[in-house]
Subunit: 280 residues, 4 copies
């Protein structure tokens, strides 16, 4: 068992009444138990938690008035990683895929797998199906891309990245997801906190569906998969943006952390704060 202290502090200057939708809360699923959790907003604003579907995503929504705004999220999470002998994990034939998994074969905004059938078949079609083939897709992605902050933007897709050969974690995930889907392996995007990620930031990785369950992968090799704490799951990054803003507000500062030791002093001034989500 693995206890991890995660959190994020987001600061904004809000110019007009603005609605924020935040994907920063730790997801609820059987692999990670949240033992403590708080959301603090300074100055006080009511926060609504929107549970979104069967994936355990927990969107936060708040309507902010003009002025400075700081949102501090903190949680203590126990990870219950399964021990998996991946050497024997195979792929699932199309005819046997569960119905609710089929949607993760469809192309999505940033993962145009429908353009990459031949590409994927040529690069990976000759490999043994299974966990090792997804690993080969991750290796290919790692080897052909250069991790380059600033080289991509919010509208950059997997196809863009396959041509320009550079990107950040989100792009690595999109490329690997697209290649998996093009090979007939359901794949989806996961956002989260990651222990030992340097520099600390929200992280993007992905899951592939193999032999009856979802397996985590990370083509960036930037942090150990065993230290990932899931925030949200979706088709691609379009579904789990950590912050969506409707209104006029600028991000001023952002701090993200994920530590195996006790978390540091990320607390706000104890006055005027709010604990909207009590510990689970």
């Amino acid at each position: 068992m693995n206890q991890i202290f995660v959190g994020s502090r987001l600061r904004y200057t809000v110019n007009t009444p603005t609605t924020f939708l935040l994907n920063v809360s730790v997801a609820q699923n059987c692999y990670q138990a949240t033992t403590e959790e708080s959301i603090e907003v300074h100055p006080f604003h009511k926060v609504e938690e929107c549970a979104v579907g069967p994936l355990g995503n927990r969107l936060l929504r708040l309507n902010a008035m003009p002025g400075d705004l700081t949102i501090l999220y903190q949680a203590t999470v126990e990870l219950h990683a399964e021990e998996v002998d991946s050497s024997n994990v195979g792929e699932v034939n199309y005819e046997n895929l569960p119905a609710d998994v089929l949607t993760y074969l469809n192309p999505s905004r940033y993962c145009e797998s429908d353009k990459l059938f031949r590409f994927a078949a040529e690069e990976f079609g000759g490999l043994v199906p299974g966990y090792s083939r997804v690993t080969a897709i991750c290796n290919w992605t790692f080897e052909h891309l250069t991790y380059t902050p600033g080289s991509t933007g919010p509208t950059t897709t997997a196809c863009d990245v396959l041509l320009q050969r550079s990107g950040v974690c989100r792009d690595y995930a999109h490329v690997a997801i697209s290649l998996c889907r093009a090979m007939g392996i359901p794949a989806r995007y996961v956002s989260g906190y990651a222990v030992n990620l340097q520099p600390p930031d929200f992280h993007g990785f992905f899951e592939a569906f193999l032999e009856g369950r979802w397996f985590l992968f990370d083509a960036t090799r930037l942090a150990p998969v065993g230290g990932f704490v899931r925030i949200g799951t979706g088709r691609d990054a379009a579904d789990v943006a950590f912050s969506t803003i409707r209104g006029d507000a600028q991000s001023v500062e952002m701090e993200v952390w994920a530590d195996e030791q006790q978390q540091g002093d990320h607390l706000l001034d104890p006055d005027n704060v709010q604990t909207a989500i009590s510990s689970a």
Copy 2:
């Protein structure tokens, strides 16, 4: 009440063992009641119905052996259209949108709304919010596109269509959906049967979320919305392709119908057929 006879007959030449995933069955929801329904496959193949999620989609999956394959789907549907006075239907503020609707604001494979914020704001930002604004988006789409079979393909997106100014029903829906999402109006793709569509074919239209519920729209003006029978609902056409084929098979012939009168003689040779889905 409106009784409609819908159906489709798909013929394939199957060269290798092939899995078919079909979106041809009428969806289950409170606006349409299926009183009779059958699926016949010639020669006999077992058909699996995969229910996909809360949208009422009913995928059919079958594994076909090499040879000729004919799939005949027929249903009798009673439409319970609501009478709506659309003149007073408004939009829902972002802060009040239900959580499960938020996903239909996200960009998707064929609806790159994230690229069209300024486009939409300039064309439609000055209009009164509500049903009439979605109607204005439909009108704009109808007026700026030319319905041109063959002008687009399976990877064509709303942005492609906005530039080339031509497309088919699927493209009209993608454009309107993208513009709605860019305006902050949740929108999603609907496939279905349509009475009086000429030439008869599967049809693609869309829904926008206004004042607490989804409303059907069709930017093509090719058939009356009151005669639409829903098959599937999704983010865009990627989610509800009427046929997805894994294997080596060619489409030989396709027939689609939707009649308010008694359906014609679309029956197969009564020998060697199967009724996999008994009437509801």
Copy 3:
């Protein structure tokens, strides 16, 4: 007659031996006479002037060693603007276009006119052919785009801009060029200095071929066409980038000016400079 003092000072930090290709010199043609001109490089480097073809472009090439590098270009130019009564200027039928003009109907890297035939025909096909139609294209471009520094990059094309509806001078020119070509009007890109441009910078505008000659247009309305001093002419910005760098060098500072009064004190330290191009 109009005497204009133009110039630019480019400063780089050169890390490895680097070749620079510069499009900063005033072009040679019958509409602008260069009465004084100098290029100074600090520290001393030999500068080669490459005349490129019949358009009067005058590329400068230099091989710089590591260290700081400053390139100062200055010229005094007399503009001989023609008086044109544009009200009667018509388009040239395709069958009568001069052979060397035909190439400016072809699509180019940033001007995908081959995707915009229907778009252009719908927006401008009903207008009277001639100068006024090109003016209408400029007006449309001005009205539908928002001038937004930073909204586009070096790989942005006219089609990208038509969707995102924002850009800078180069993008305005690309959009107008593309729409002209799609209408059958030859059009090409022009880079230059522009009097009264705020903030001062290199400018991008375009020419359309009408009734036997090329006419200057600028869809940005940022500076008077009568004060444009041409540097280079090409199919689009790909042909006349003001600076192309092969090697490892960063731009440190750039200053550009175009004044109708005597130019200010842009001179370098008079020691260690070079005058590679004497006055014409």
Copy 4:
């Protein structure tokens, strides 16, 4: 010396007065001498030959009236291939490239080399510069693409093809040109007739600039380079389309040939024909 009989017969149905621009005539350059040449148009139409620039391209332009139209071009060409020991042919440093060659480093409509710098550097940056590196680019293109008629269209670019991994001769050339330019090797498109091409058609290949001259390459391996007869040279296929049509006309039939033996019976009915271009 190599005598080749080339020709093409194009048939159209012309519905409205239509201007044709044809790139079917053999180019004039020192490597190929045209000993006999004729252009016949049935029914009679005047044909204008437009010489386009220093590349030796010879556009034909004709204004056709409604009705059937047949254009028959025939030429006898002697190829004077140089014997080249390619093993020692190097690349030219950027600082030494002739000015009129620099333009072939710029990206163009179908060759977006500006998006492929890292791609090219990773795949080919470690190879020995020179003829062998261009050969490696051709080999890579041949090995990663599948020749698939119908898989691409008139707006397909090199980047599209690099993703979908299929195309025709024009696409192979665009990919190789783009990768050469991204490596700093000037490259341009060549259209022509090709002996032993199966099925016979116009062919597209390319040239790279190495050690002071242009060398022909063909990544498709469909026909021997020694049997290529050049029609036109340009930045990419946008510049040398064999037929550009302004008006309403449909292609009815097209026949192309290139034989080392005496040409067959491609002649029109000798009445009502025209010999617009006498033998050179």
